[in-house]
Amino acid sequence: MEYDQPRTLFEKIWQSHVVREQAGEPALLYVDLHLVHEVTSPQAFDGLRIADRSVRRTDLTVAVMDHNTPTWDLSLPVKDPIAKQQLDALEKNCDEFGVELYDRFSPLQGIVHIIAPEQGRTQPGKIIVCGDSHTSTHGAFGAFALGIGTSEVEHVLATQTLRQKKPLTMEINIDGQAPTGVSAKDIILGIIGRIGVAGAAGHVIEYTGQAITDLSMEGRMTVCNMSIEAGARAGMVAPDQTTFDYIRGRSHAPKDSEFQNATEQWSRLRSDPGSVYDARVTIEAKDLEPFITWGTNPGMVIPVTDKIPNPNNAIDETEKESWERALRYMDLKPDIPITDVSIDRVFIGSCTNARIEDIRAAATVAKGKKVNDQVYAMVVPGSVAVKEQAENEGLDRILIEAGFDWRVAGCSMCLGMNPDILQPKERCASTSNRNFEGRQGKGGRTHLVSPQMAAAAAIEGKFVDIRDW
């Protein structure tokens, strides 16, 4: 087909996946990869069973246990009977419906958004879904990847399609080179701080600019992962040589001449010059700094050099009230430097920041140092493969000697569905993605930061500017 207008990357992927489109109806899109985990799938499988339906494409579906798996010794049984019931249900459902499953003992287990790229399942141009909002992670490869609800999980299992109203597009251009000490996490926290937690609602973001293309695939995944925290339907980065080099040789990647053909096809996956986006945002990379959230949503974020905001400076009454409420929950006083805030816990992990580069960054900071006496710090690798790689590089030794706890893979204290939770009033520097009230444990107080900043905070017992460290 010939197109008169230049098309965005998103538009190209969308048009190539439309199974059916009718005015007044959401389009029916074909799904290339469906990732399944234990928390959002039991009711979907149950629905199939009741309606006597099967899984249409078991070859495009893969399941993993990650959300409520304990990260202690794997030889111990799952103590929480309800978590166990959910894990058992996934095993039974996968067995009955013929879906491949990585259980908690599998060498391929890990956080769903970490293992799929690791295995080369995540590829440019695909539509990827999962009953999990952080599915946006996979957009780093130039895929359209989005989180869906359980009813939609059931819909995809039964039909391999998804009904979607076409989202709008937004280009976020991070212009120029990111300064030293500014990580991928800081880029995305800076973006959310700028546009707000609903700033990209209804849009698919395409991240462009040198600070984005300079990033490794792991860094791009960190950025795309938190697109949902800006309210976006998905986030994506156009695939390039960095993308192809990452995919080459992975177990589910195309092989040999097929790989060559695939890269030629994938190279077409970029927005045409002159593409029109529904919204555009430009941020100068040189203006970015290491960021820390101070409040109870990811938009409540300040540079490490800043002070806790004063509600008297809020733009309106609604914002003032939400700042006051957040300060009360977080037990913080306005106008004090964020670097004066001391912490009790450190969590390095989650689908945002638990890949090998994140562990390396933490270990580089921690090497030869000791975790502060007042702090309990843990590192939870994102997958069995990340854990093994880290152990082969001796990173586990560095971290353990510094006083960090070294765990087995899972979602862990990002959402605290397993035994890893904050106690009420505990303050945590966390590399995860959400600082909502109670997210890491009822009454717990979360500050989102990069792995470097989290490791440095563990050692100092309070926040520090990694650039001075």
Binding site: S16, Q43, G131, G149, A198, F436, K442
Partner: protein, 204 residues
């Protein structure tokens, strides 16, 4: 799914922006494997004090909002996780309709799958509804999905809202999305016949 055609119900206010799904249903209650029984955990950390007793300050605990089936909320309602447990908890508690200036995308979609009508209304109308739900006892709204119209008891607030035809039809008939899609089986099979095995290859 129970059809939604017309509804009249008591309005409860939730005068906060960015109410996230971790507040609507905290994660410790996601471990069930059923779709039902989540109403008791709705807004758990706000509804209950640390000792487990009811927090009398929280809106939904006030006697005047007992039995409310319409929630009037701040912007970006339902942000955060994709957990469908959020609409399941709202539905199980008794809510059939949520009115807000805006909703988070995934939550908005999830509502339709469960017979809950999320209505996007202008900021000033939502503020008026919230204020009236506080100043008027037994304050009720009428919602007519067929005519995409809502009004309060004394017709002081009357407004039209928008909803695409597909969603409206599905809600009004209690239709299951999967059943509708299954009718297009031949479209799906035809698509699969020409689909590249790597999926990510452009088809033009």
């Amino acid at each position: 799914m129970e059809p939604f055609i017309k509804h009249t119900g008591l309005v409860a206010p939730m005068d906060r922006a960015n109410v996230d799904t971790d507040q609507i249903i905290p994660k410790q209650f996601l471990k069930r494997i059923e779709r039902t029984g989540y109403g008791q955990f709705l807004f758990n950390d706000w509804r209950f004090k640390e000792d487990g007793s009811l927090n009398p300050e929280f809106e939904l605990n006030k006697n005047r909002y007992k039995g409310a089936s319409i929630l009037a909320a701040g912007s970006n309602f339902g942000s955060g996780s994709s957990r469908e447990h959020a609409p399941w908890a709202l539905m199980d508690y008794g809510f059939r309709c949520i009115i807000a200036p805006s909703f988070a995308d995934i939550f908005y979609n999830n509502c339709f799958q469960n017979g809950i009508l999320p209505i996007i209304a202008p900021d000033n109308i939502v503020v008026d509804i919230i204020n009236k739900s506080r100043s008027t006892s037994n304050y009720k709204l009428n919602v007519d999905l067929k005519n995409l119209k809502a009004w309060d008891q004394d017709e002081d607030i009357v407004f039209q809202f928008k909803l695409d035809e597909f969603r409206r039809n599905s809600l009004m008939n209690g239709l299951d999305d999967i059943g509708i899609t299954m009718q297009h089986e031949s479209d799906i099979s035809n698509f699969e016949k020409t689909r590249h095995k790597h999926g990510g290859v452009l088809r033009d």
